[in-house]
């Protein structure tokens, strides 16, 4: 059973819309990628395996694909015919790109009053930065998140892989659904103008407040955090087979229990008689915290992540191991929930997420492979009454 009704979404433009369109497809919408002849340039992005760009495929699962050159009269005419049967246009062209093709969002809505056009761009449709070129990395820099990500003696750091654009993609899916809900009441569509920078600004839930109320700006603190009046406590520790997260606890019993375990191994003996209720780690100055942390660091190196997690479960410490991507994918929790399904990628079968979230009705919608460029031309355009001969002519002209 699919979560969404029979909704048809036309998705256009390369850079930001993939996740938004895929979420709608995963919930049961019919999402058709409308690409220039030959496909989006993003289809060649590395890494490529089995003839498929994996970054492109990962956010284009479960979709269909047609081609149409919107700048050519015949391609444009096909698109306008397709539009008549569409509920949503999801586009991530630069602002005014569609207007220059005489396909401005408001004009499309005027032509089809029930249509929802969701525009997902780096900065929104207007404003001083609206026309600027941008990527996941440059938007993260502007959002303020990058200034506080990374290590003091190193450059500001981005999150691994494109995570910021995905916040915009989620917001675009949300805005589209809210507009669909509103349409359910009165049949009218609208334009939804989504900004990736706005989405990233909402994710930055601390730094603007810090400036506004404390007139302070934070910098890069590596894997440390300040919790009380004292210094910065470390929260990432090297152990025998990797890294774990733990920080000196302000719960005196929990802290004592941890140091007792270390003391038993002959480690951190200088802290054997420390009364953690009298002096909390959060209140220690940096030099004292550094001494405490240096004393206890060898304890972690005696054990693997699994051994430390087992001790933590027994003794109530807050400690968890860092997983690499293969380990993360293999965790039993995901298998138990049926998180993985699989799809074809060229000549290979690879695991993909089976759902964006679980519902009591099994899966929210169907899941399938990413489409090849124009793979659905015959079926989709055929349903508009275009014959095989018509399509052959359009192909020869370069319109599809």
């Amino acid at each position: 059973m699919s979560l969404l009704g029979p909704i048809r979404v036309l998705e256009l433009g390369g850079d930001w819309s993939g996740l938004a369109g895929m979420l709608l497809a995963q919930m049961g919408a019919e999402v058709i990628r409308v690409e220039p002849p030959g496909g989006e340039p993003a289809r060649t992005r590395a890494p490529v395996a089995h003839g498929v760009s994996l970054p492109w495929a990962a956010f284009n699962l479960s979709k269909q694909a047609v081609t149409a050159d919107l700048a050519q009269p015949d391609g444009r005419a096909l698109f306008l015919e397709l539009l008549a049967g569409a509920d949503v246009v999801l586009e991530s062209f630069p602002p005014r790109h569609l207007a220059a093709l005489d396909l401005a969002p408001q004009a499309l809505i005027a032509r089809h009053p029930g249509l929802i056009v969701t525009s997902l761009t780096a900065f929104g449709q207007d404003g001083p930065r609206a026309g600027n070129a941008a990527t996941d990395t440059t938007v993260m820099a502007l959002s303020g998140l990058m200034a506080v990500t990374g290590f003091a003696e190193m450059p500001p750091l981005r999150l691994g892989f494109d995570q910021i654009g995905s916040l915009g993609g989620l917001q675009a899916a949300l805005g589209t659904l809210i507009a669909l809900y509103a349409r359910g009441a009165d049949g009218l569509g609208q334009h939804v103008d989504v900004s990736v920078l706005d989405a990233a600004r909402l994710a930055n839930y601390r730094e603007p407040l810090r400036w506004e109320f404390e007139q302070a700006v934070e910098t890069r603190r590596g894997n440390t955090a300040r919790r009380g009046r004292g210094g910065f406590t470390s929260n990432v520790w090297r152990c025998r087979d990797g890294w774990v997260t733990w920080s000196a606890s302000d719960d005196p019993r929990r802290a004592r229990s941890f140091f007792d375990a270390a003391n038993e191994m002959g480690i951190a003996l200088d802290w054997r008689d420390h009364d953690f209720a009298q002096e909390l780690p959060a209140d220690m100055d940096q030099a004292r915290l550094d001494a405490l942390e240096a004393a206890v660091a060898p304890f972690f190196e005696l054990y693997t992540r699994a051994e430390l997690e087992e001790m933590a479960r027994e003794k109530g410490w807050i400690l968890i191991g860092f997983l690499d991507l293969s380990e993360a994918a293999a965790q039993p929790q995901l298998a138990a929930r049926g998180y993985w399904t699989e799809a074809r990628f060229g000549d290979a079968t690879l695991p993909i997420p089976a759902y964006p979230f679980k519902t009591s009705a099994e899966q929210p919608g169907p899941t399938g492979p990413a489409p090849a460029p124009g793979q659905d031309n015959a079926r989709v355009y055929g349903a508009l009454g275009r014959s095989a001969a018509d399509l052959e002519r359009l192909r020869a002209e370069g319109a599809i």
Partner: protein, 408 residues
């Protein structure tokens, strides 16, 4: 607050007008989701307790005092909501909460495993009485499976999803950011699920239970990297680089701790950079494949150029050449960013306890049904109103319950 919309539209009901949400969620991952609904006109009734305060009411900064109504942090995730205080350790409190849940279209919760079930407010109980109820549960690792009872902290999904592992510099430790990305990404999955489930209900008349978690949300965002890993291409931390274009990074500028992020996606953009910097073409770097094969050489050319310029001059020149660039902004610059101001992302509105403070708005503008951001509620401000209008209690009923400590 309407967002730069004409007066006539300011009175238009929000897109979700008529939807009632009984919101038991607290801290970050639940409230950020229901905020999105409230800003678009849903009536979100936040069930709180003076005895078991939403921890985000205790998080600084505080304005005009340091009580539960003075946290500017709390405001961000709770705009446009109503607050009702109910003591859930009182049987009569549980009964009132249940009546509110059953009088709503949707119930949202992010408590520890089994908490609502133990109170008799779980999905099985509520849906038996209201088959068309939607219930959305947000948790760390999901409500089923061996980790169903797992009690993580805000950032634990960063560690268990692999996000921390791939965030950092090659050979260095994983990086645990000082913000909990799972706490901002998961509520967006949650909000998507909420509106989709409401749509489903309107179409089918059927309720639904949604089980949305941080682990799976983070995994979904990492799926390009996970797919490459599954294809046998080991993925690790790559610093500020991209897998598909080079140079991509953060480059030093003249001045103290001044940086500009630059991405060069295409050969044309690389040529534009060479023209800007007055450099000759090196055939080995003329193609994406060539630059990906020797990223440090291309990066050095960019860094040599940025180092001679102020951050803002570098950003301006690169953008003028059509090259994606963004200065690394600090908290002050984000607060004052002209684009974000233009978008009215955090306008000041009047809060009854704090005065004029910023309330963050949605990240999208809707042309016909614009969002309207209302002040975050004072603790329990709407208790009487909601109990009268939703449950039909009388003033006397409410006074008695108050005197008995049921509504604290």
């Amino acid at each position: 607050m309407n967002r730069a919309q004409p007066e006539t539209q300011a009175k238009a009901p929000g897109a979700l007008a008529g939807v009632r949400v009984c919101d038991f969620s607290w801290v970050g991952a639940g409230p950020r989701a229901t905020k999105e609904l409230a800003d678009h006109g849903a009536e979100v009734i936040k069930i709180e307790s003076r005895a078991r305060l939403d921890p985000s009411r205790r998080i600084p900064p505080f304005v005009n005092g340091d009580g539960p109504d003075n946290s500017a942090f709390f405001v961000m995730s709770n705009t446009s909501k109503k607050s009702v205080t109910i003591n859930l350790s009182e049987p009569r409190g549980v009964e009132i909460a249940k009546r509110l849940a059953l009088a709503s279209d949707m119930v949202v919760e992010n408590f520890g495993h089994g908490f609502l079930d133990r109170l008799g407010l779980g999905w099985e109980t509520l849906s038996a009485e209201r088959p068309d109820l939607v219930m959305v549960s947000i948790s760390i690792a999901g409500r089923t499976g061996p980790l169903a009872a797992y009690r993580g902290f805000g950032n634990s999904a960063a560690a268990t999803s692999g996000q921390s592992f791939v965030t950092g510099f090659p050979g260095g430790p994983p990086h645990l950011t000082n913000y909990a990305f799972g706490d901002v990404a998961t509520p967006l999955f949650g909000a998507v699920a909420m509106v989709a489930a409401l749509d489903h209900r309107r179409r089918t008349g059927k309720g639904l239970f949604v089980d949305c978690c941080q682990l799976e949300s983070m995994m979904q965002l990492l799926s390009p990297a996970l797919l490459a890993e599954a294809a046998g291409l080991k993925q690790g931390a790559i610093g500020n680089r991209e897998t598909w274009c080079a140079p991509n990074g953060v480059f030093p500028c003249a001045g103290d701790d001044a940086w500009v992020a630059v991405s060069i996606r295409t050969d044309a953009e690389w040529q534009a950079f060479l023209d800007l910097a007055g450099l000759d073409t090196d055939p080995a770097l003329a193609t994406v494949a060539g630059r990906l094969a020797a990223p440090e050489r291309a990066e050095t050319l960019v860094a040599d150029w940025t180092r001679q310029r102020s951050r803002d001059a570098a950003e301006t020149a690169l953008l003028a050449a059509g090259i994606p660039a963004g200065r690394v902004q600090d908290g002050r610059e984000v607060s004052e960013d002209p684009q974000l101001e233009h978008r009215h992302i955090a306008d000041r509105i009047e809060h009854p306890a704090m005065g004029q403070v910023r309330h963050v708005a949605p990240a999208f503008r809707m042309s016909r049904t614009p969002s309207r951001v209302g002040a975050a509620p004072l603790l329990g401000a709407d208790t009487g109103d909601v109990l009268r209008h939703v449950l039909g209690l009388t003033r006397d009923d409410i006074e008695t319950l108050q005197a008995d400590g049921v509504l604290q």
